[in-house]
Structure formats: structure tokens, C-alpha cells
């Protein structure tokens, strides 16, 4: 897959994983596992990138006698998800058009 496309997809996946409630590293990896395999180092890079883009914020909170980092989505992050959905509605309609054409060609 195109690297730029994949990067954009992974960013939105991580944003979606923290959309409904704040989450932490290991939980994000577990939640995304059915859809995409994320290594720890890849997740770290994505989280850093999203933090720099102000699409999420980080806070450390006490958990079971140690500190755990929680990631919280911002307005900009939510906006990015909206943007993604609109873009992909278009992409999907093009996809449907292309596959329909292909199916017709194969039937002829």
C-alpha cells in the first residue's frame, strides 16, 4: 500500500480508538488488533505525530501504583475523523463505479 495513504489511515485509526473515551497505549493496540496490527514503535511514532499536530493531548495518571499515559482526543482530532469520513465517501463512490465497470466488462 502507498506509504502516505497508509500513514493517513493509521493516524485516523488511532484517533478513532480514543474517540469515545481516553485510552492508553496497550489498549489502543488491542482495540485495533482485529483491523490492523500495530507494533509498539509504530504506535509511538503515530502518537507523537498526532500530539504535535494537536489532535490529541497526553496526561499521566496513577494506575495500580504506577503512572500510565492516557491519550485524549481534541477538537482538531475529531475534525480530522470527520474529514476522513467525507473523503472516503467520495473514494467509496469511485470504488463502486470502478468495480461496476469492471464487472460489466467481465460479463460481456
Amino acid at each position: 500500500m502507498d506509504i502516505q495513504l497508509k500513514r493517513g489511515l493509521l493516524d485516523v485509526c488511532v484517533l478513532a480508538a480514543i474517540k469515545d473515551e481516553d485510552s492508553y497505549g496497550y489498549k489502543i493496540i488491542k482495540d485495533l488488533k482485529p483491523y490492523v496490527e500495530l507494533s509498539e514503535s509504530t504506535l509511538y511514532t503515530i502518537l507523537k505525530r498526532l500530539e504535535a499536530a494537536e489532535m490529541l493531548t497526553v496526561r499521566s495518571a496513577e494506575h495500580g501504583g504506577r503512572l500510565r499515559k492516557y491519550y485524549h482526543i481534541t477538537e482538531a482530532g475529531l475534525h480530522r475523523i470527520e474529514e476522513f469520513c467525507e473523503e472516503w465517501r467520495e473514494v467509496m463512490s469511485i470504488y463502486n463505479f470502478v468495480t461496476k465497470e469492471k464487472a460489466q466488462n467481465e460479463n460481456e
Partner: protein, 201 residues
């Protein structure tokens, strides 16, 4: 390959040596948390680490993804502070090394000039031979034309001798120039190697 959390983090730290300190500790915290969260789910530290992967491979991946600019900046830093006192030393030592350097430059320059002077003087000998030969020919013809055949013949004889000599010196000069140029080139390379050193130094 069984290791506990501390061993894992220590090996990861070794693999990431050279990264900025704040970035390094943040990454180690991140992996530490990843292990702790797996342990909380019921895995042992060893099993958690098996899931995460070998610290050397992880370090290699991180370095490969790391922005080159940041790494280079980090590597240059200790050298910059070293250079600062190097400059101070250079300035303080200037009364010693400046005259020495000037003398070396002057010696090299004078050698160069004298080599070229030899070439110029050789060609001057050739030019004077050729010039006198031509002049002798002209005056010899003039002597003959005014009736002084004997002097004219002697003149032309002398000029033939000189033209022969000039042809001889021409090839001599050419060979000498070539040789000297080659010599100065070798000397220049020698001086360069003396200062900069050959390749691996």
C-alpha cells in the same frame, strides 16, 4: 531468550544510545508501560517481552525511522564545545605558528619561483641562439649584397652553426621544462600528503 523487564529496558537503552536523553527516557517509559499492562492482564514479564519483540530489533527500527536531522544535530554537539577551546588555543598560539606558517609559505613560493626562473632562462638561451642566427642571416646577406663576400660567407656560416645549436637547445629546453613540471607536481603532492596525510589518516 528469556529476560525480565529491567534487562529488556537496559538492552533497549543500549541500542538507542545516541538519541537525545529526554526522547530516550520517554521511549523507555512507553515500553515499560507496555510490559506492565501485559503483566496486569496475567502474562509474566518474559511472556510480555516475547510479544513485544527483541530490544535490538526494536532499537534498529526506531533508529531507521528517526529523522536524520535530529540524529546529526545530536552527534555534532560534543564536538562543537571541543572546537570552542580549540579556537582559543589557536589564537593564543598564533605568535608561534603564524611566523612559522608565513616562513613555510615564503619558502615554498621562492622554490616555485626559482624553478620557473630556470625554465625561463633555458628558453632565453634558445631565443638568443635563434635570434642571433636570424640576425646573422640578414646581415650576412647584406654584406654579400654590398660586395663584402668573405665577411658575408663567414656570417652565414656562423648563423648556420647557431641555428643548429638553437634546434638542439629547443629540444633540450622542451625536455627540461617537462621534467621540471613533473618534479614540481610530485613535490606539490608530497607536500599535500605531508599536511593532510594519505587517505586513512
Amino acid at each position: 531468550m528469556k529476560m525480565n523487564k529491567n534487562e529488556f529496558l537496559e538492552r533497549l537503552r543500549k541500542g538507542l544510545a545516541g538519541l537525545p536523553e529526554d526522547d530516550l527516557s520517554e521511549r523507555l517509559d512507553f515500553y515499560g508501560e507496555m510490559i506492565d499492562d501485559r503483566v496486569e492482564e496475567g502474562l509474566s514479564e518474559e511472556e510480555a517481552i516475547l510479544e513485544i519483540g527483541s530490544p535490538e530489533e526494536i532499537a534498529w527500527q526506531i533508529i531507521a525511522d528517526y529523522p536524520l536531522g535530529k540524529l546529526v544535530k545530536k552527534k555534532m554537539k560534543p564536538k562543537r564545545s571541543f572546537r570552542a577551546w580549540e579556537i582559543v588555543l589557536l589564537v593564543l598560539g598564533s605568535p608561534v605558528w603564524l611566523p612559522l606558517l608565513a616562513a613555510a609559505v615564503v619558502v615554498a613560493l621562492s622554490l616555485y619561483v626559482s624553478v620557473w626562473a630556470i625554465i625561463v632562462s633555458l628558453w632565453a638561451v634558445f631565443a638568443s641562439f635563434a635570434g642571433t642566427a636570424f640576425g646573422g642571416l640578414v646581415s650576412g646577406i647584406a654584406f654579400i649584397s654590398i660586395g663584402n663576400t668573405l665577411t658575408g660567407a663567414a656570417m652565414i656560416g656562423a648563423c648556420l652553426l647557431l641555428s643548429g645549436l638553437s634546434i638542439f637547445t629547443f629540444f633540450g629546453c622542451k625536455a627540461a621544462t617537462k621534467g621540471i613540471l613533473l618534479l614540481t607536481k610530485k613535490a606539490a603532492i608530497g607536500i599535500k600528503n605531508l599536511i593532510i596525510g594519505k587517505g586513512d589518516m
